[in-house]
């Protein structure tokens, strides 16, 4: 842990130093291409002080964290069971997969008109957009987790006369859980990366809105501020997920070695 923190901290520090040197000291990268630390700090001052894109930073953060959390929860509550089902039942897989495959590559942006049509300009539409992107990794990883489950464990459970629900809860789910958690991580990430698209649905505030506005305004400093804040939020939520994972996978020796 401490080693990891030291190396990680050193890496981040090195990256920041490189950034400073490249943009500010040597001017290797012109400020038009990438903002300097000073530009970024100024943008940060603007968004925390007078505000930007309809609000100050904290408004944007609260709004987006709420949205992402909801979208993520809806996505995993639908995605994981669907993935488990498709992994378990070849019939379910054959039945659902073609539709799933066709719908999957459609970008969140393309869902926006339908989302507006079905759910208006409120939160539901934004959650729908996030859901479309975030549920796919949950499905696919849960699916792969089931497919990789040790066959003798399934046999042992069958031999013990395990009823289906118990089987799902106590064998399928924990057995697939290392992969399910991989999926959850990706789903969480997808939730954040779809935020920009989701907040195209008439958002008043939100980090996606900030990024959209900064993008329209070609405001590199503000784009970077938005990116950094999104990263911090995503990182914190992933860390929370990591804690849940460690708790859920305490039986797994490999997971303790892992991150």
């Amino acid at each position: 842990m401490s080693r990891k923190a030291v190396v990680g901290g050193a890496t981040i520090f090195a990256a920041l130093a490189l950034w400073y040197v490249a943009t500010s000291v040597t001017q290797m990268i012109s400020p038009g291409r990438f903002p300097s630390p000073a530009d970024t700090w100024a943008a940060f001052g603007q968004i925390t002080g007078v505000g930007y894109a309809n609000g100050v930073l904290i408004d944007h953060v609260l709004r987006s964290v709420t949205l992402v959390t909801l979208g993520f929860l809806v996505a995993i509550c639908t995605g994981v069971p669907l993935g488990l089902w498709m992994g378990w039942s070849r019939k379910a897989e054959a039945l659902i997969n073609p539709v799933f495959l066709i719908i999957r590559p459609i970008p969140p942006l393309a869902w926006i008109p339908l989302a507006i049509l079905w759910l208006g300009l409120g939160d539901m539409a934004k959650i729908l957009v996030i859901w479309f992107a975030a549920f796919v990794p949950s499905v696919i990883n849960a699916y792969a987790g089931v497919r990789n489950l040790d066959k003798t464990l399934i046999e042992a459970a069958q031999m013990l006369g395990t009823p289906f629900l118990t089987f799902v809860r106590e064998i399928l789910l924990p057995g697939a859980s290392p992969m399910i958690f991989t999926g959850l991580r990706l789903s969480l990430q997808a939730s954040w990366t779809t935020l920009v698209a989701a907040e195209l649905v008439g958002a008043m505030t939100g980090l996606g809105r900030v990024l959209n506005a900064a993008q329209q305004d070609l405001y590199p400093g503000m784009i970077l501020v938005g990116m950094i804040v999104v990263t911090l939020c995503g990182w914190l939520m992933t860390a929370a997920l990591g804690v849940a994972e460690r708790r859920a996978l305490s039986w797994n020796t490999a997971s303790q070695a892992g991150e």
């Binding site: 042992a156 031999m159 006369g161 106590e170 859980s177 039986w251």
Partner: protein
């Protein structure tokens, strides 16, 4: 309740034409409450046969039935002790053993009591809350045995259950199994490599041969055991010293050795 029957059973791995013929024309009957040991060289298909009875696999020809009913799927009436333990790594020892009882709807208090008893029997007291990866191989195998025992099933299918046990535990378990089998007889199909173990435990011993896998010979132990009153002896060592025992043991051994010789020739 619990008579097992193999009817001209065959199993081909791969496609029917040029696949690998693991079993051919296996004929075997295990009577209700009979203890049948199965011995045979490695790879002769012992595990495969046992999996048919468990319902994990199906013969490609012939039929396997229990009480005249064709086996189609696994169930707790046919408890299995797996060669490779097959414990749920995410469940503690207690939870692993408990699952079958919960499935049967045994009430909580009784579950606890039965598990504590079996843990003590298996010399596992104190490990109830350990996870499988914290146990030694032998301990894991004992948990696996406990999981099957605790269900008190009609049919017990054991695939080299004592293979990973240490010598002393093994003897204790063998004696225990015999006691159990006498007191509360069950239909048992017991795969082992140890000929002495087979003779000591079984009513009959099926000797299998390879290429293709089949039942070569069945040796009746029970009549001799009863005639020679083996059960009067309490310790396994005493039984093993009896002339009748040694004779049977040598007979089976020779049959196996002969098989081996044939194969190498």
């Amino acid at each position: 309740m619990g008579a097992i029957r193999f009817d001209n059973v065959g199993r081909i791995y791969g496609n029917k034409q040029d696949g690998f013929e693991a079993l051919k024309g296996v004929e075997l009957e295990i009577a209700d409450k009979e203890f049948m040991a199965v011995v045979g060289p490695s790879g002769c298909g012992k595990t495969t046969c046992l999996r048919f009875v468990a319902g994990f696999d199906r013969p490609t020809s012939g039929m396997v039935s229990v009480d005249g009913v064709k086996v189609t799927k696994p169930g707790p009436d046919r408890a299995v002790v797996f060669q490779q333990f097959a414990l749920m790594p995410w469940k503690t020892v207690r939870e692993n053993i408990e699952l079958g009882l919960r499935n049967k709807g045994v009430p909580r208090a009784e579950r606890r009591e039965r598990i504590d008893r079996i843990l003590a029997l298996m010399n596992l007291t104190g490990y109830a809350d350990a996870f499988p990866h914290q146990l030694s191989g032998g301990m894991q195998q004992r948990v696996s045995i406990a999981r099957a025992y605790v269900l008190d099933p009609e049919v017990l299918l054991m695939d080299e259950p004592f293979g990973a046990l240490d010598a002393q535990t093994r003897v204790v378990m063998q004696e225990e199994l015999v006691r159990l089998a006498r007191r509360n007889p069950r239909t048992v199909m017991f795969i082992t490599h140890a000929v002495e173990e087979a003779v000591y435990l079984a009513d009959r011993v099926a000797i299998m041969a390879r290429q293709p896998g089949r039942v070569k010979e069945i040796i009746d132990i029970r009549s001799i055991r009863e005639a020679e009153r083996w059960d009067d002896h309490e310790k396994i060592e005493d039984v093993m010293d009896l002339e009748s025992f040694v004779h049977l043991r040598t007979q089976i051994w020779r049959s196996l050795r002969q098989e081996k010789a044939m194969e190498i020739a």
